[in-house]
């Protein structure tokens, strides 16, 4: 059955057939017995990019476009390692990066992780930071 974002929420109870762990295990297999027999790892306990995209669709269907955008960016970031994510976050803080450094992050997001929405987001920030004196080495006159 196709996914209907306006009626299939909560996914966990209404469409468990669509929800799997990153290693492909069905939701129902995440049990104490499976834990005891060593079948579960911490990596199983994450949403897949697909699930996050479905949540984005649910948000969109509920007339929450910005939340949908956030979840769509999150779906892309689920493939990005934690340390890299934190580096990008730091790079986006005020006065941390030059335009070209932010552009380099945008390219990496795009090419290494296929994270196009995030790349656009970083480029957009770079443009505004340049206008507001928020790039590295700049101190905005307060």
């Amino acid at each position: 059955m196709d996914f209907d974002p306006s009626s299939d929420y909560p996914l966990g109870t209404r469409r468990p057939d669509l929800v799997t762990t990153p290693s492909g295990k069905p939701l129902a297999s995440v049990t104490l017995d499976a834990l005891r027999s060593g079948e579960l790892t911490a990596d199983d306990l994450r949403a897949t990019p697909e699930t996050l995209r479905r949540q984005a669709a649910v948000a969109q269907a509920a007339a929450r476009p910005q939340l949908a955008q956030n979840l769509a960016r999150a779906a892309e970031l689920s493939a990005v390692p934690r340390e890299v994510m934190l580096e990008i976050y730091t790079a986006l803080r005020p006065h941390r990066s030059s335009s070209s450094e932010l552009e380099a992050w945008a390219e990496r997001l795009e090419h290494e992780y296929g994270a196009h929405l995030n790349a656009t987001f970083v480029r957009e920030a770079a443009g505004v930071y340049a206008r507001r004196g928020l790039l590295a080495g700049e101190r905005a006159a307060l």
Partner: protein, 756 residues
Amino acid sequence: MSTPAAGSSPVSGQRSRRFTSREGRELRREPLIAPEPELGLVALNGPGDPEPGLELADGRIVAIDGRAEDEWDVIDHFIARHGLDLDVAAEAAGIEDVELARRLVDVDVPREELVRLSRGLTPARLARVVGLLDPVELMFALKKLRARRRPANQAHVTNLKENPALLAADAAEAAARGFAELETTVGVSRYAPLNAMALLVGSQTGRSGVMTQCAIEERRSLALAIQGLTTYAETLSVYGTEPVFVDGDDTPWSKAFLASAYASRGVKVRFTSGGGSEALMGHAQGCSMLYLEARCLATIRAAGSQGVQNGSISCVALVLSLPGGTRAILAENVLAAWLDLEVASGNDAIASHSPTRRAAKLMGQFLPGTDFVTSGYSIMPREDNMFGGGNYDADDIDEWLTLQRDWGVDAGIEPLAEGEAVRVRERAARAIQAVFARFGFPPISDEEVEAATYGRDSSELPDRDRAADVTAADRVLAEEISGLDLARALDGSGFGDIAEAVLGIQRQRIAADYLQTSAVIDPDGAVESAVSDPNRYTGPGTGYRLEGERRARLEALPHVLRARDLVENGAAERPPVVVELGEALPGVAPDDVVIAVGPAFGTALHETIGGLSHRAVLEALLEGVRAGGAEPRLVRVRRVSDVAFVGHDGARISGSGVAVGLQSKGTALIHRADLQPLDNLELFGMAPLLTLDSYRAIGQNAAGYALGNRVGPVPTRLDNFARAKSIVRTTLLHARETEAIVRAAPPLELALAPLT
């Protein structure tokens, strides 16, 4: 401007003791100030707030609230790119401010329509429209605009010693009391992993599905969430001016990116903002707190956050120093809800020294209900609150529960019997003890478990080896000990049900349903959010209503008494105080003073509300009348229970015309036959305060009136709280007296029963 007005001190220089007495009250420990708009010290509708406006050219925004694009700061840029729907903006521009404000309180305009319109409104417009609402309108708007149908609450769980057994016990009690989210923080940041673990284990002991967080620096916070030790974060702060945002070392883009990063790992995120922070940090740019909060909220929605904790939060006392502060804070909450954000509505930091003022402030959120009525109710005593909070704490729980019961309102806290509280506390402390043992962490002693179970606060717990604890905490991060490891450790230690609950929380991340707006998790694992359980309030009979089983549960406080237990029972088995001698005839002797008692006196009831035995009271009255030189006669009036008529009936058959009327509960008066029944010579209404000496004096005065002597009134005491304390028992005792009425029956002559 802030100089006290002329006439504020007496010309004589002598102080009024009424004024100095008031100056000593708790309220006066916090200053009130007149607005200083240039410093941002104005709560709402500030003279420096920009005129609302949105200019479009060629389908793009070129000016927001009077600022052209080349003057935009980073916040304007962010809102322009992500925060406004231009089609709606064009529509909303054609609606007057007051018309928008009216729609906010019009039950026939649904929430979805208001949320849709909000997408076209600039911050200045938003602030102006909610600024038109009065307090009751704000509360009504909040009730209507809340995202999730059912209100909930969040607890703070910390202690000064960062003791894991106490954290787990407190978390368990909070969860068992119905809090949907628990938040901890740390004094020493390296402790965070242990605190998060204790909170997770404790919360799932109290009730499965409770969400937890540990408020710390972002890098560590994300690590804990990824390891499955926490489920949500609300530390993403936003400010309403660029300099403060930058001083906070962030921009709207960095914060929005971080929010997506959290979501990518299945972590629920809520932003934080609140009026007064910009003024406090020195860059309010001459704008009102509410307008700057509107900018924060527009940014937060634009960032794609599902929700916010706002309502001034830690700056609450600053906002409350200004006129309209309480109202502005409520207006902030309303704005957040209008922007379709989940709202955790403050009430965590201490708002005032004055309990009256704190409670008055609380009602704005408590009565309409919000997604989380507080963004941290201190489940432990204030001294252990590491958030600097504790506006409401462990000692106030009964007050909170009573207020819920008084108003018939669900503000997210459930009553919990002492036995059950102790049981879950001990179990949680035992569970974390077992987990520590399993991981080879510094042991938790039985003494700690005991003190965590029964103690009041952390001062009762032994000190731990902090250095060893910190080393263990480092191991949690270094070895990436996860929520799964925790479940395994619990399962292996005989805590299978807690292991199941901890695993259940981990399982939630896979479907990530709780990333939708305003999500909480039921004990059975179902996610309740604004998508699955939206607030569709459209007037009486709709929306969330406290009824049925839930109502009964919130009304049944552990200390509620059965009415019939409040008055003595089994009186029939007790020996009678008086014996009845037949119909009482009119007396003729001029020194005859009747002591007329009520229908239940000495039979169905045996003591007064003040705990005096009826025999002792009668003896005192008899003694008093005799000491006054008159002859007492005991009579029971059966046809009425009201003290005035009991006394008057007695007076009518008294030879002297004077009688003492006495109800079973102890209320007495002195009456005279020629007076109207509701008049009297002396009335002693404060029955709980009467002593045997009082009754003796009453008898003596009655004799004095009978013999025509000069009589000074019996001295009585005044306790204005007597009624609050006693009115329930008064009612029940009077009901017993009334039950004993024999209609139209003549009075009976009595004698004291012989002592057995």
